[in-house]
Every structure is written in C-alpha cells, then in structure tokens.
Subunit: 320 residues, 2 copies
C-alpha cells in the first residue's frame, strides 16, 4: 500500500503532526483549494474547525476521503447530507473539552451567584458596596445535553453542591428525556445548554422556554449559538423574565462589534472559549496522531459520529 | 432567678430575637452608651460585629456580662487583654459562613483561571478576543487556616479537582504546620488565606512570602485584612511576582475611595462579602436564639472561643 494522503484544512501545520513524517503524505488546503483536493485525499483533518468549507466543498459522488476528523466536539459545521449519506467515517475530539467546559460553567454559576460582574464594575468605580451573594449549595441546575460535556458539567455542578438534573434526547437511567425539559426548566435555578446543534435542537431555547423559567434563574449556553434564539434571550433579560445569562457561543461568530448582545443587562458575553485551556491545541494534535495511527493500522476509530444524529452517541444512548 | 439582661450592640433589633420575648430583658446600646451598660448586663450580643466598641469599652474589673456572642467567625475586633483574662465566655458564629466562603473562594479561583475579569472588560469594549483559560483540575492550592472555613474551602477546592493542602498553627493528621508554609507557598498555584487574625498571624503575607510564590500563581484573602501587608501585595502584583490576587478583606474597611488598591493590575477588590449570602442575618439571629436558650438553661455553649489563641479550636487542635 502506498503512503496515504492526509489533507489538512489549515494555514499552518498543527502541533504533533510531525510525528507522522514518512508515514503519510500531508497536503494543506485553504477554503478555496479544498474542493479540488478532497477527491485526491484519503483522510481529512479539519484543523480549521470553525470553517464551513467542508460542508460547502464536499464532493457529491466519486473519490473522497474515507475519514474526516474534526478537532472539536460539535460537528454541525461539517455535516452535509452528502457526507452524512456517504460511507466516510467522521470522528470528533471527544475527551479534550469536557473538563474545561465543566469548569467554565462552574465559574459562571459561581460568579453569577456571587455577583462578581457587579463587584468588578463597582471596583472600576472605586465604590465599596456590600451585597449578599446567593448560596449555591442546594440550588437546582438543569443541564441540557447528555453527551460527555453535559455529563462532565453535571458532575462538576454536583461536586459544588448543586442538585443537578440532566436532559438528553431520550430518557435513560439518571437522564431525563426531552419531554421533561419544560417542567425541569420551570424549577431550575441554573439552566445550562450543552447540547449538540442538530435539526431537532436548533432554536430550542426560545421565548416560550425562557418564560417558563423562574425570575431568579440564570441561563448559560456553552453548546452552539443557534440553539438559542438570541433576540428572545435578550428580551427575556430585558423584561426580567430571568435574572441573568451567559453566552459563550453565538449565531454569528465572532460577535459583531455592533451586536446588541454586548450590552444586554445581566448578560455575560464571552468569545467561544469555554473549552479552550492552555495546551489545548497540543492535546488536539496528539489525539489526532493517535487516531491516525489506529486508522492507518486498519483498527477501529474511537469517537465516531453518528452522522444521522449529528453527534457521537454515548454507550447508553438508545437506537432510534 | 430574675430575668437576665441581654445587651445588644445594634441600632435595630436583630431578626428572630422576638422569640425570646418574656424570657429576657433586652436592652440596646450604641458605641457611645456601651461602656455604661456593660456592667448592668448578663449577656452581650455584638450584633454590630464590625465595631471596635466592645474592645474599647470592656470593663477592667467589676460586674460585666458572663457571656459575649459575636455573629461573625473572627473575634479579632472583640478581644482585649481584660476580656481574654476574664471568666466571661465568648462564642462565635461557627457554622454559618463556612460553605458560603468556600463557594466564594471557588468562584474566585475559577474566575481567575478562566479570566472572567478580562472577559467582562472586553465585553465593555465590545471586543471579541479569544483567549485560553487555565485548566483548574490538577492545579495545586494551599489553604492557610485549618479552622472550619479553611477546611470547607479545602473540601470545595478538592471537589473541583484542585490538589489542596491545608496549613494550620500546628501539624495534625492531614494538616501541615506553619513550618511547611514557605515550601508549600512556593509550589502552589492558588494560595488562599482563611486564617484568624492573631498576634501570630498579623502581617504573615508579606513581600518575602509573595516572593516565594510562582509568577503564575494567585493569592486570595478571605480571612482578615491585616493578615496581608497590602502594600507588599500591590508591589508583588506590580512587579509580576505573582499573576493575580483577590482581596475580600482589608486593613481599613470600607476601603477608602482614594485607596491605591482599587486599581492595582490583576487585583480583584470585593467589599467583605464572601460569607454573606441571602438570609445570613436570619441564620445568625436563629443561631443566637438557640445558643441563648442553652445558656439560659445553664447548658454548655457551642463555639466557645479560646481567648488566648483568638479562635474556636477544632476537635483535633492540640493544646499549647
């Protein structure tokens, strides 16, 4: 067998890829040259995982990579009907982002409970104004999304004393199905969205659902922007249907300087960074190299995406 | 036995005190009238616990309250040599502040790890700038102070994945003695001060100790202001000896509007609020009423301060 061709969507070589030198022919593509190179490649590493180029350039028929890897948790930017229907295997970066995102959500919950944004604003004004924080222990969280990120987040929130329920697509042991979402939202102090973006989940957090929440409750999105109807969230905060919110992901990223979201009262805006901790690119490169070695040896790959569902199923995920 | 006289240092009646109606004669004092009323009182509730008045007004000899209760964790504002040497029992509010302060410290650790202050400042400027957070799991914390607040804080930090060491006055099972403080500070990512203010601990965090810390490390004080030499901390941040700090307590409170601490780079200033969560005054009032009932019945009181040491000893605290 001749050296396989690995196509990398990236301007610069990802870290750790040098370890494969001599065992694979690596070529690089940008968004413009991707379509021409896809038919010539055996595997594709979508290093520039925020790009829509793969979805746009994926060949309908004929030669194409047999394996596509994205160094991200979500695969929503990648999947198109042609790729979903093909026999090309798609894998993701399960294992890298779980704990960082869980920590980030805990940071937001605790910061909102203790009004850290208010403290920092008062500090800027050199004003000493004592306030009472919220006790976090014994409050209720609802984590929406029962994949590894949602589960790690639920574990972290439980660890800091929050009574946490988890909602997934289907009910399983310890996990509520989507049918329980509305009643659980109505009694949660913290609603955390960590769901994948699919046709089923797009826009699931809308005015009707924010209206279900308690006026004292907070909403956090670390999933994907389009899970939330942003204008509905802004209105819910404006009308004080809910007490606060934090968005790390947005319908359009980067958020435009003139977006009204920047200064919605009670909304924390962060630049899609919840999963990205020092060394993350190295870890993603390492993970890819390990997966490449399995693939080149003809061994089964981990983290295989169910392309119909749009995410990597968990071991306890029931079939459709 | 005639009705005992309970003197309350407060402008307004504390919550829950009405439950004692008919069983105790309650009188109120302010800072000016305290000295005259102390000799006439059987018990003293220092509801206004931020006042220095008790220390200043405590009678040297002669009649005085047999019991003094402060609804705070620290007793540093209260104790004077005459009170320490008398047979008056002093109690504190152990049990109320532990979990709130532990949560507050976790909020600060996570917020600093994820650069939430930077995120909020960028949001104000409507700037999208992706940054990498620190992974908190596996980092090292040192909690100084092995009382219930330090222990609750250590438990909370361990719960979020931080390897946490605890330093107390003397070494005990699972707790380092003060001798280990310097080497432990040198390798900690997070140094948290939750120690009582005593003659031994005043000024313990000074230039020499900040210089021991790693340039990537952070310092947090939720104990008492004078444990830290504030100008040394400001200099350590200024010279980048350490990466960041958060002070919830200060040498002089409230912090003056012209204090240079308000805008030391990398320093979070909060208004002594770490232990104060919604409902805390009610809980403090309830705790006092329960303790009053024990005292009036001649039963032993919990939370009795060792007036020589300046705090309530733990069950595993060795004698001098």
């Amino acid at each position: 067998m001749s050296e396989p061709t690995l196509l990398v969507l990236a301007a610069d070589p990802p870290p750790r890829l040098g370890r494969l030198t001599g065992r694979v022919r690596v070529t690089y593509a940008d968004e413009d040259t991707l379509a021409a190179q896809l038919p010539l490649s055996d595997a594709l590493l979508v290093w520039n995982f925020t790009s829509d180029a793969v979805r746009l350039a994926w060949p309908g028929e004929g030669p194409r990579p047999r394996w596509v890897h994205t160094p991200s948790a979500g695969v929503d930017r990648l999947l198109c009907p042609e790729l979903a229907e093909s026999d090309t295997v798609v894998t993701n970066a399960r294992g890298i982002f779980e704990v960082p995102i869980a920590e980030y959500v805990a940071a937001l919950v605790l910061a909102m409970a203790k009004d850290l944004p208010g403290t920092l604003e008062l500090q800027r004004q050199r004003r000493w104004r004592h306030r009472e924080g919220l006790g976090v222990a014994g409050t209720r969280a609802l984590v929406v999304g029962a994949g590894p990120i949602g589960r790690a987040t639920a574990r972290m929130l439980k660890a800091i004393g929050v009574r946490t329920a988890l909602v997934g697509r289907t009910a399983r042991t310890g996990i509520h199905g989507v049918r329980d979402l509305d009643p659980l939202m109505a009694r949660a102090d913290w609603v955390v969205c960590a769901a994948p973006l699919t046709d089923d989940t797009r826009g699931m957090f809308d005015a009707r659902r924010f209206d279900l929440m308690q006026p004292s409750a907070h909403f956090i999105n670390v999933g994907r922007g389009p899970l939330v109807v942003e204008s509905d969230l802004a209105a819910a905060l404006d009308k004080r249907w809910i007490a606060g919110a934090a968005l790390d992901v947005f319908e359009h990223e980067p958020l435009a300087p003139d977006s009204p979201l920047w200064d919605v009262p009670g909304l924390i805006v962060s630049p899609h960074m919840s999963g990205d901790t020092v060394g993350w690119r190295d870890r993603l490169g390492e993970q890819f190299v390990e997966m490449y070695e399995l693939w080149a040896a003809g061994k089964p790959l981990p983290n295989v995406v169910d392309k119909k569902r749009g995410y990597v199923p968990m071991h306890d995920d029931s079939p459709d």
